[in-house]
């Protein structure tokens, strides 16, 4: 039995990952903004076998609440074994280009607030000398592209922050997992035309569950994105800047 805290628990990827934790009988605490959804998900997770599943309503982009929230969560679960950070928004790139306040809001949600949580969680796990910090970044953070570079900036910053954190926490035996999903057919991407590369959230969830189990550092999901991004990163900037990506 692990004590699992899920931040952004109503996202499709988080929900499917939580089902896998529930099936093996973990104790879960969910955090998201919408009470009704949290209740629906925690009912489901309890039926699926969670030893216990409770929830808290919070807007995680507000960093002023983080300290209290994490302390209470840790007390309620009796400690933290796994923390999954899964919230995020796919903001409108065009709006961010016109108005920096829109970009700032995206960065606050997708990056700064995550770094705030990680700062607090890292200290706690470093002290206890165990635990898993699993954070959903994105392949979009591997290289900036005109279609979504604000989102990419946020995710890229998270990836680098996690890299440093992993380096710092390796001697404390804390797993820091950077999760880089490719295209996921979820409510966040409802309006996209879906092609061959798109996968269901349940597939990503399986990958996250296995990566945590195997103590991985960085995982591309599905695996083939590692190769796609390898090639994308190889393209010289001189050429890359002229591509419409």
């Amino acid at each position: 039995m692990k004590r699992v805290l899920i931040l952004g628990a109503s996202s499709a990827i988080a929900e499917h990952t939580a089902r896998l934790f529930a099936q093996r009988g973990d104790r879960l605490l969910l955090v998201a903004r919408n009470t009704q959804r949290l209740k629906t998900i925690s009912d489901d997770l309890r039926v699926r076998g969670a030893l216990d599943c409770d929830y808290r309503v919070a807007d995680l982009s507000d960093t002023s609440t983080h300290d209290t929230l994490l302390n209470e969560a840790s007390t309620q679960l009796g400690g933290l074994d796994i923390v999954l950070i899964a919230y995020g928004t796919l903001g409108e790139q065009k709006a961010c280009e016109q108005d920096f306040n829109a970009a700032l809001k995206e960065l606050q949600t997708n990056c700064l607030s995550v770094l705030s949580l990680l700062t607090l969680l890292a200290n706690q796990m470093e002290q206890q000398g165990s635990g898993t910090l699993a954070v959903i970044s994105s392949v979009a953070g591997d290289r900036g592209r005109q279609s979504n570079y604000v989102y990419g900036t946020a995710k890229g910053a998270i990836s680098i922050f996690l890299q440093g954190l992993r380096n710092r926490l390796s001697k404390s035996r804390v797993q820091v997992l950077t999760i880089k999903p490719g295209f996921v057919d979820s409510p966040m991407t409802r309006d996209f035309d879906k092609g061959l590369l798109w996968v269901k959230p349940a597939v990503i969830a399986q990958g996250i569950y296995r990566a945590i189990d195997k103590q991985k550092d960085v995982v591309y999901l599905p695996f083939f994105w590692r190769y796609i991004m390898f090639i994308i990163k190889l393209i010289p900037e001189k050429i890359f800047k002229r591509l419409s990506l």
Binding site: Q36, T40, D43, D44, V47, R48, D185, P187, D193, K194
Partner: protein, 439 residues
């Protein structure tokens, strides 16, 4: 994803796909067009197709709400599949009260088509076990329906082909089992009389009965087949997880070219299948017993890109022998063989559903590769026999019965129209109601 096909992969039409992941998710605004739920896409024809309209994809609405492990009652969101429900309930000693031949159907689809299984003669349809359901309507919002609450809407929704609104959750009773195994017996029969005799003898002592029939056999061999009967085994020792068998799934990676399935190959298959060595009795896991085809993912691709038709009819027992003989002769003469022809004797347990298909009699299910007009005219010939014998055709498997045939099979359809959600429609419904009442 830009296409949503039914299992028969015909018809393939333009429709807007809109995922509904939460019970209270907003639906797209519509003016000229209509909405329709689409779950796992396992109905064969056009009951879950909405040409030019919107399909509400319910796949993501797949949560458990409650599971009473003592009483055996489960409540789930409607997009969940039977496979997922089995994964949860079987280790606790419970089973689906009624199951169709695939576990990849959605719960909402099972209710909307009021599905039946090999135990129809004892248990009735799936709808018989539904205790209550949540129906979200465009005009009246969420309606809880049961035998006592909104009973008319409840009856209209069971077997209501998804037209009465969006089924968002369903609660139903489970069946207690003490083993995941089935005690099975097989017996060959050489004609339809023997099939009927075997069915009637087995009806009381055997919970599950079904027969495979060689629909290409002619004259003296007409109506030959293999009869299967089974009961849940008692205390077989340890419970095995239902996933045990799913792991070894094969897959049809692509469409088979149309010429692979021809008169000769199908005939050969049927010959070999009939003459294969049979263990007369044995103990089998429930998965291969109920869901043999689930082992091959995308088996529908076997019929190529043009898809295929299913034809399932029921004929009242008194007329069954004559009508089934006619049907088998027509098929054998047409040369359009069916691989998987299934015969079963339904019981007389009434379905709660207003438009439900199952009724006392003999039911025959066939599939035919889509060869265009040739196949459609064969199906029209079969319809003529079914109609003359006072039978009916199963909407969940149909893609071409005429409006007049449907209206004869289901004279209650005009009453049913009062319960249709004004924003909902389907390709099937427009097809079978377009020409008004049959003459």
């Amino acid at each position: 994803m830009t296409r949503a096909l039914s299992w028969g992969r015909y018809p393939d039409v333009e429709q807007r796909l809109y995922p509904v992941n939460w019970q209270d998710d907003a639906w797209p605004a519509i003016t000229q067009t209509s909405l329709l739920a689409h779950g796992q896409g396992r109905s064969y024809g056009d009951v879950a197709v909405n040409d030019g309209g919107v399909l509400l994809l319910t796949e993501g609405m797949n949560r458990f709400i409650d599971f009473d492990r003592e009483q055996g009652i489960v409540r789930c969101e409607a997009g969940i599949s039977f496979a997922e429900i089995l994964n949860l309930i079987v280790p606790h000693g419970w089973f689906l009260p009624v199951t169709p031949g695939t576990k990849f159907v959605s719960l909402g689809g099972a209710v909307a088509n009021d599905v039946h299984g090999k135990n129809h003669h004892q248990a009735g349809t799936f709808g018989c076990f539904v205790t209550q359901l949540g129906l979200r309507r465009s005009d009246e919002g969420l309606q809880i329906c049961s035998e006592t609450q909104n009973p008319e809407l409840f009856k209209a929704t069971i077997g209501g082909l998804g037209l009465t609104g969006l089924i968002v959750w369903v609660e139903f009773r489970l069946k207690k089992i003490s083993s995941t195994y089935i005690e099975q017996e097989c017996e060959k029969f050489s004609n339809l009389q023997q099939f009927l005799a075997l069915s009637e003898t087995a009806a009381e002592d055997w919970e599950y009965t079904v027969a495979w029939i060689d629909c290409q056999a002619k004259s003296g061999r007409l109506g030959r087949g293999i009869f299967y009967r089974g009961n849940h085994a008692q205390h077989a020792g340890k419970h095995r997880e239902p996933g045990d068998y799913a792991r070894t799934r094969l897959s049809m990676p692509m469409d088979l070219p149309g010429f692979v399935l021809n008169r000769l190959s199908i005939s050969l298959f049927n010959q070999l299948y009939y003459h294969r060595p049979l263990a007369r009795r044995g103990r089998v896991h429930f998965d291969p017993f109920f869901y043999p085809l689930d082992k091959i993912a995308h088996w529908n691709r076997m019929y190529g890109a043009r898809g295929f038709f299913q034809y399932q009819c029921v004929i009242p027992t008194a007329q069954a022998l004559d009508a089934m003989t006619d049907i088998l002769q027509i098929i054998a003469q047409s040369g359009q063989g069916s691989f998987l022809s299934v015969l079963k004797l339904f019981g007389d347990m009434p379905s709660p559903g207003m438009l439900s298909f199952p009724r006392a009699g003999v039911t025959l299910a066939l599939d035919f590769a889509n060869r265009g007009n040739k196949t459609q005219s064969l199906l029209a010939q079969l319809d003529a026999v079914t109609l003359a014998a006072g039978g009916a055709v199963y909407p969940a498997k149909d893609a071409c019965m005429s409006a007049s045939h449907f209206q004869h099979y289901y004279p209650q359809w005009t009453d049913f129209t009062h319960y249709i959600d004004p924003a909902f429609s389907s390709s099937f419904w427009r097809r079978v109601t377009q020409t008004g009442t049959a003459a």
